[in-house]
Symmetry: C2
Subunit: 305 residues, 2 copies
């Protein structure tokens, strides 16, 4: 999944299991990461759907260390490291880079709204300078529906010009294909454009993109990877339609608790249901409805531990 | 400013000075807090306009300790302690409560959008239970234009019912007088409603409110406190109009850099101009324009150190 020093393929913001105390359940997480890697899906640890923004920097540093200690190759990790506060982002980014993570996925600071491109540029520039690791590979994280702070084409171009060895790509979770297309046709050298989900994976690949980073790859990794691998095949459009149908079924529910519900169901492990506030798990009715709808699609996950 | 164990009066989210390295300049901050307290304005340390969301939890803990060590009474401090991640909020809130801070101003977790009242209730409940300090006094922070996660009347009422000794009040920065009015007429026992600025201070006082927490009290503390003190006087409306004119003048510029520009100008100390990214300081033209406009209003701050 690393080629030319940069990522391609399918990644997932792996969901984060919690103990009864709401501490991270590291063992369950390691097992899940190993399973995903066996399905050829890379680990975008600490993504939006990982509830990363409900974890402290210290928890994330400990988790990274424990995953690597458990034998997960850092070259297959793309942890999210962007926080509101500059020192937090620098601390976690430096740790990830020093561990040898293949890249980091980086939100802009997202509390202050209506900030300027100049301010966002200085933010990323300070992070890069202060991290001080030549091997650092940053994948920008554009998710205006959640962060409310987006990354313009002009800002991205300026960052690439200033830091061509470091600004490696982007995850576009705008949900706006025109934006993804503009990133793809910009033609920046070795810049990797990831769709924010499998919904735009096929279009992204046909336009020279690198793959996708998708929440639903937590539960549908093999099929999404199959489309990535076979995007040139005559069956690609039909494979794509199936993926979209499944995603739409899941998306009809709050995404993070729905993903946890599915993993809990197919692994017969209700511990997976737990979320940290401000999220709440699905109600019993939602739970049943989701599982019934997946049944109607003949969706299953036999190999889940 | 503490009566019946709870706050009233005028508070300001004191702006945070930075050194060239962008580290917090503790000495400048202590001087500024002392000056504000002399003007009878309480210290809502780590508010939105303090660039609090650009500071790490560790920086905030150190600052609290240093302010108290410098002789600032913790009973006059209302630090912001709400973060996205539960462990961060608990850590800082516990520290503030253990130091004896008169109260904390608490944002809800603000990364995940569209969260339920149930999830927000559990968030505050977990924070209170985990902080485990009977003296903790929480002032809820409702600022949907920035946080994008608001606090409904139903949620507030449920929190007050469950934790009447702890949920002490609210800062309403919605900019929506109808919302503030609804909070005031709810009639919750000893619940302190603060306007988000002096714009609604007079209306708030006339409806039984506790005061205001205002960014512009950084630069106009004496006059805002005078209105608070004399809200029943025949001159109150005319005092109010003057305050609003000044605030509108400042608000025509990006608020945080504008406040820093004003303090830098009147204290002859350009070090105050510095902000952390993603914010940027005013341009030379904006700077000149702001100072000129204040001059036209005959605004001055002779006593600023």
């Amino acid at each position: 999944m690393l080629d030319g020093g940069r990522f391609s393929g399918v990644f997932t913001p792996v969901i984060t299991p919690f103990k009864r105390t709401l501490e991270v359940d590291t063992k369950r997480l390691i097992r899940q990461c190993s399973w995903l890697l066996q399905q050829h899906v890379g680990i975008a640890l600490f993504g939006t759907n990982s509830e990363a923004n409900s974890l402290s920097v210290e928890e994330k540093i400990d988790l990274l260390d424990e995953l690597v200690a458990a034998g997960i190759q850092p070259s297959r990790l793309m942890p999210g490291t962007g926080h509101c506060a500059l020192p937090d982002t620098v601390k976690l980014t430096r740790h990830a880079a020093d561990l040898g993570c293949g890249g980091t996925l980086m939100l802009p600071p997202f509390y202050y709204k209506g900030v300027s491109d100049e301010g966002l540029y200085r933010s990323y520039a300070e992070i890069i300078e202060r991290t001080g690791n030549d091997r650092l590979q940053i994948y920008l994280y554009h998710i205006p529906p959640v962060s409310q702070v987006g990354l313009s084409l002009q800002l991205i171009e300026r960052l690439i010009s200033a830091y061509p060895q470091t600004i490696a790509g982007i995850k576009d979770s705008s949900g706006d294909w025109e934006n993804t297309k503009a990133l793809l046709v910009a033609g920046w050298d070795n810049f990797r454009v990831f769709a924010g989900s499998e919904v735009f994976l096929l279009q992204t690949m046909r336009s020279g993109g690198a793959g996708c980073i998708s929440a639903t790859a937590n539960i549908n990794p093999a099929a999404i990877h199959a489309l990535y691998r076979n995007w040139r095949s005559p069956e690609a459009d039909s494979m794509h339609r199936q993926l979209v149908t499944l995603r739409e079924t899941v998306q009809a529910f709050p995404m993070i608790p729905a993903l946890k519900c599915i993993v809990a169901h197919f692994s017969h492990d209700p511990g997976w249901l737990r979320v940290r506030p401000p999220l709440i798990q699905l109600s019993d009715e939602q739970h049943k409805s989701l599982i019934d709808k997946l049944g109607a699609l003949r969706f299953g996950l036999d190999d889940l531990a």
